[in-house]
Amino acid sequence: MLEIKHLKLTLNGKPLINELNLEVKEGKIHGLLGVNGAGKTSLANLIMGTSYPDEGSIILEGRDITRFTISQRAKMGITLAWQEPARFEGLSIREYLGLNRNLSLSEAEKYLWTVGLPPGEYLNRAVDGSLSGGERKRVELASVLAMKPKVAILDEPDSGIDVVSLPHIMNGIVEMGKRGSAVLLITHNEGAVSVSEEVSIICAGKIINSGPPQEMCHWFKNNCQTCPHIGEPDYKGV
């Protein structure tokens, strides 16, 4: 579904994304695990098109979309749940969920239930500063669900979420995979990738290991969480 080939992004001489290769398959959840500053959000931005790479390509269903605009990509079925989603004055949650199409009330309600937000309480609230950080992130995930995307990039959907809501979030992510979306589940928390079929570990803008979730969790704990090289410009990966 989505292929990323030899992607490179350098900022002020520092490589943020460095020769990165990755494939996310239809109906599969692909975990991307990395510590703070590993380049996860930079990669999410490149896939969504909020920034462009210096080298390499992004391929969606065989089509090179590397130079496409955000809107073009979204219309082709890519969307992003932002790590820190923007706030909108005067825009209701109902409207936010239905931005790209006519969303029926029952559908909107369904997606809110999926992320654990009672529709009666939330549908008509604004997506503004009155929502807590966790609420806003759950709304973000619901809006990605509502878009029925081909490719969903989820940038740390689990961070800032309380323990009661976390199962709802994870449930929503699993749901997306079941419906056939290719999901890139970005996180720094190795517990969260257990719902994925495959996990890649990112470090200094490079994929340094890939494999099944359990194995990768283990490897991540042993190698990355104490890694002294992270973020250093001359770090070339393992």
Partner: protein, 315 residues
């Protein structure tokens, strides 16, 4: 124009401007319709008294909400000038007696204005524990030939509530010189809100002043402006915390979205009691990039995204 024809023309314009025609025709709903200096309709709802006096250039109005009266339906006011030219000076005296409660919805319509002046001078007194909501919506044509000069001085009694919105979003503003000043007594609530969509050569001046004079009085001076083309705007939001536990906030957002726009905001917060607190936030700038990217990531194009953001801000 014949009075009947004039009334029909006003009704039609009122309907087009989004006014509620059923409410205007209802027997139970209070209304007041004025074209230039002609009073075309007055209906007093239960608990309300309205006196009018036509002058050469407009109408003098006395509007009374009787003590303890809770007015069931919103009272509808409709002021306008339909021809291309004309002057309308409204002198308004409002008295909302103690424990009364009313919601007033006003439409001001100038659909064909090329050279129209609309002035309002209001002296408003809200009694103890009374609640007054006032929502004024303007409908202007596309020519920008309107000068709108609304001025109000509002006194709010103990535990009284004043909340008003002034909204000028449809059509070109022309020139706006809005000046509302409010004085809040003990535990009163004093909220002023202005929403303006400036276009072309619009010239917008807004002054919102809130004096929190009584202990525990609360105030909010809020403004939301979007400026396209060559529109210019100046917003002064001032709040004075003059009593213990007075709490005020000035909140101004101006979005500049045209190549020739000029936007200024001067928030002033003043406190002369050590237990009062007044805060302010003002943001002037182009549309937030992240908001744009977020909406585009849901499949909107650039223009649609701007539209969603602007509509939200002015809602």
């Amino acid at each position: 124009m014949l009075a009947v024809k004039e009334y029909e023309a006003m009704l039609e314009a009122y309907g087009k401007a989004g006014g509620n025609l059923d409410a205007l025709k209802s027997k139970e709903v209070g209304n007041l319709v004025i074209h230039k200096n002609k009073v075309l309709s007055v209906k007093e709802a239960d608990g309300i008294k309205v006196e009018t006096e036509e002058t050469e250039s407009g109408v003098n109005i006395y509007f009374l909400v009787k003590e303890g009266a809770k007015i069931k339906y919103p009272v509808h006011l409709c002021f306008g000038v339909l021809p291309e030219e004309g002057l309308q000076e409204i002198i308004l005296r409002v008295e909302a007696q103690d424990n009364s409660e009313v919601n007033v919805i006003a439409h001001c319509i100038f659909p064909n204005a090329v050279d129209v002046i609309h002035k309002m001078d209001a002296a408003i007194k809200i009694g103890d524990n009374a609640k007054f909501s006032y929502h004024e919506t303007h409908y202007h044509g596309e020519f920008g030939g309107v000068k709108v000069i609304p001025k109000a001085r509002i006194e709010v009694g103990r535990k009284g509530v004043w909340e008003s919105t002034f909204s000028l979003i449809q059509g070109c503003v022309g020139m706006l010189d809005y000046d509302f000043e409010i004085f809040g007594d003990e535990k009163s609530i004093n909220e002023l809100m202005v929403k303006v969509f400036g276009k072309k050569e619009d010239d917008i001046n807004i002054v919102e002043k809130i004096h929190l004079n009584g202990q525990g009085a609360r105030g909010l001076a809020k403004s939301r402006l979007v400026l396209n083309d060559n529109a210019r705007a100046m917003v002064r939001g001032e709040t004075y915390g003059n009593a213990p536990f007075a709490r005020g906030h000035v909140d101004c957002i101006e979005i500049v979205n045209g190549d020739g726009v000029a936007a200024r905001a001067i928030p002033l917060v003043y406190v002369n009691d050590k237990q009062a607190k007044v805060t302010h936030e003002a943001a002037i700038g182009s549309i937030d990039k992240k908001q744009m990217q977020t909406l585009m990531a849901r499949g909107l194009n650039e223009e649609e995204a701007v539209d969603v953001i602007v509509k939200g801000i002015l809602r």
